[in-house]
Each structure stands twice: as structure tokens, then as C-alpha cells.
């Protein structure tokens, strides 16, 4: 049972480059989330989705875009990478809204922008 799978695990980008962080889940969960984790700051919600075709902004959406064309996949796009986007990114999913069921997390993508 794979759960939530994120790729790549590590990536180094140059300023201005773009990339897509992949996230897929095999649990048929409707809710999916992208968080970033910075030292001493906890996790900040970037974007979330309540189902295929529906996405919405979280606390820190600037510089990112998402799409949800299928239930399984929720990619995160960085268009013009900036040093401030150096972080660890976590994708998560849940069958119900966050209040009613725990989130299942992937192992993260560690991104460095130089």
C-alpha cells in the first residue's frame, strides 16, 4: 500500500527556473493538500483541493500553482523559483475534511533554490 507518494525527494533549482513537484495517492481520498515546512515555522498550507477539478488557496499561495485533474494526482508548480521557496514540501491527503479525519503525509520534497 503506497499511500502518498512524492517525487522528487531532492531538487536544486537556479533562480528563475521552474519545476513541478509531483504528488499521487492511491487511497481514493477526495482532499489533498500542499504544505511547506521551514525551520522553526511549522507547516504552512500552500494550496488544497476538495476533489478533482477544485482547488483553493491556502495561507502562502504566492509563487505556486496547482491543478487537480484526477482524484489521485495533485501536482504543485513553481513557475519562477526564488530563494524564498527553499523549503521542504509535503503533500497530504484525507478522505474527509481535515477536522474529521487525519491527514496522510508523503515523505516530502527537499527543494533548494540558489
Amino acid at each position: 500500500n503506497a499511500g502518498v507518494t512524492q517525487t522528487p525527494k531532492f531538487r536544486i533549482l537556479k533562480i528563475g527556473q521552474s519545476m513541478t513537484l509531483q504528488c499521487t495517492q492511491d487511497m481514493n481520498h477526495n482532499y489533498m493538500y500542499w504544505y511547506r515546512q521551514d525551520p522553526g515555522m511549522g507547516l504552512k498550507l500552500i494550496y488544497y483541493s476538495v476533489g478533482a477539478g477544485i482547488t483553493d488557496k491556502g495561507e502562502v499561495p504566492n509563487g505556486y500553482n496547482v491543478s487537480r485533474s484526477t482524484t489521485e494526482d495533485f501536482p504543485l508548480r513553481l513557475e519562477l523559483a526564488a530563494p524564498s521557496q527553499t523549503s521542504v514540501y509535503f503533500c497530504a491527503s484525507s478522505p474527509l475534511a481535515a477536522l474529521n479525519s487525519p491527514l496522510h503525509f508523503g515523505n516530502g520534497t527537499r527543494l533548494t533554490v540558489t
Binding site: V4, L45, G58, F90, L103, H104, F105, N107
Partner: protein, 110 residues
């Protein structure tokens, strides 16, 4: 500013000793989660508390929710090396989206 404050930020405990981590919310708590994270890995769900006064235990870990104080505590009894990691609390204080505390790093010394 953080809406979920965790204390302490980090702690070192001798193996076999007890420890307590606190999570305090600046807003009303409708439920709270505790997660554990090991370096380089994702978050593992520990416990979910949904009602004021609720207390749950799993193996040597006990979590309590005090709704009036807008606070939760996580207590580990007789700590072991396997308890080392980062503990994060998460709560629904932003319209059904989980917000997280900054985490508490636990080190267990043999």
C-alpha cells in the same frame, strides 16, 4: 504570529524519564491532532482529540485536550530512543484546513 504555540521548542530527556509537550491555540479549538516526524520523513499520525476533556493513550503516549484553556498536552511515559523526533500539533482553526505548530524536537539520551 503562530496561532498554535508549542512548548518547549526542544527538550532532551534521559531514557526512562517522562516528558510533556504543550500546544496552545490563540483561537477556539474544535479538535486537535498530534503528529510525529522523523528527520527526512513525513508526518505520522499519533492521535486525534475531538472533545473537550478528551484523553487518549497509545502505548506510552497520552494526549489530553482542555478546550477551556485552548490547550492540549502530549505526555510520554518512560521515554525510549524510539520516541525521539519532532512532535507537531495540528488544529482546525482556519475553516477546515489544518494549521500546525512549529514543532517540539525531542532527544532521548541513553
Amino acid at each position: 504570529s503562530q496561532e498554535l504555540e508549542q512548548s518547549p521548542q526542544s527538550l532532551i530527556v534521559q531514557e526512562g524519564k517522562n516528558l510533556t509537550i504543550n500546544c496552545t491555540s490563540s483561537k477556539t479549538l474544535y479538535g486537535l491532532y498530534w503528529y510525529k516526524q522523523k528527520y527526512g520523513e513525513g508526518l505520522i499520525f499519533l492521535m486525534m482529540l475531538q472533545k473537550g476533556g478528551e484523553e487518549k493513550s497509545h502505548e506510552k503516549i497520552t494526549a489530553k485536550l482542555d478546550e477551556k484553556k485552548q490547550q492540549s498536552s502530549l505526555h510520554i511515559t518512560a521515554s525510549q530512543p524510539s520516541h525521539a523526533g519532532i512532535y507537531l500539533c495540528g488544529a482546525d482553526i482556519r475553516d477546515y484546513k489544518l494549521s500546525f505548530g512549529a514543532g517540539t524536537t525531542v532527544t532521548v539520551r541513553a
